[in-house]
Amino acid sequence: MNYFSLVERSRLERRIVVVATYAAFALALLLAPYGKADGLLWLRAAAIGLAVTGAAGYAAILGYSKRFAVRSQRCEHVVPDEREAAVRDRAMARAYTVVAVATIIGGAWMWIAADDPRHWTPRTGTDWFEVLVVTQVVMGSLPQAMIAWGEPDADEGTDGVMVEGLQ
């Protein structure tokens, strides 16, 4: 078994990887500013470690959903079957809804809180770089994470029912 591949993993393990990936990125972003202070070099090291962990999970999630051709719908090398194409389209449709709601909430927050220094909005170049990284990570992996989250185990049918003979 390839330890970095999610293909042969159970659904529970895939879900743990999805949660761990996003949690690692979020913690890395939260810890990174504190690591700049003197004497807190270990915090910076922890942030880097979490970012690397998140990147490994990100790669594993993308690798798992490669056969669904999320990124390259017209790629000739990866031709998903009818069920896989339907799963991919459903995941992307759900991801669109999630991102649409998040965009509206984010836009409203920017508009409302921009003039009030008590509330956090991205103001400096570093803030905007962090927002760009979060956008890139989320937009680049959300449908794939939804596929990894929802796909049944190998010994289950596509509708989640155990296949006879594999029980």
Binding site: D89, Y96, A100, T103, I104, M110, G125, T135, M139
Partner: protein
Amino acid sequence: MTQSRRRLLVVATWTSYLLAGAVAYSYGRFAASPLFLASGATACVLTKITRIYGLGMRRAELALVDERMTQMRTTALARSYGVLSLLLLCAVAGWLPVAATNDQQQYLFWGALLVVSTLPNALLAWSEPDSPAENDGTMTEFSRS
């Protein structure tokens, strides 16, 4: 509604929004209000004519939409995700950091609302070909809606 008219509607929706921004920047918000209203009105029409695909429907109503329409809606939403990804990355990397005033941020908020609420509808309206019955003058699903 024919495909060319639907495409015109899509172009009108987003062009009027962009023009409204330019007019508001040069002459003030009051002068741009007719264009904002036109953008909102065309967006409403666009939403209405593509409602047959199930966009914006409740779960109970979605059960009544036929399989082909459901598949087209899902495909349009999937394609919209790719377009929205690119737009968001461009916005975060380029447009949002330079929006300094409250007016500019308000304009971008309404733009985001317009884009996320009409993007799948626009893709459907743009890509759906004319049905043969439309050329005969027979009523179609689009003209009925």
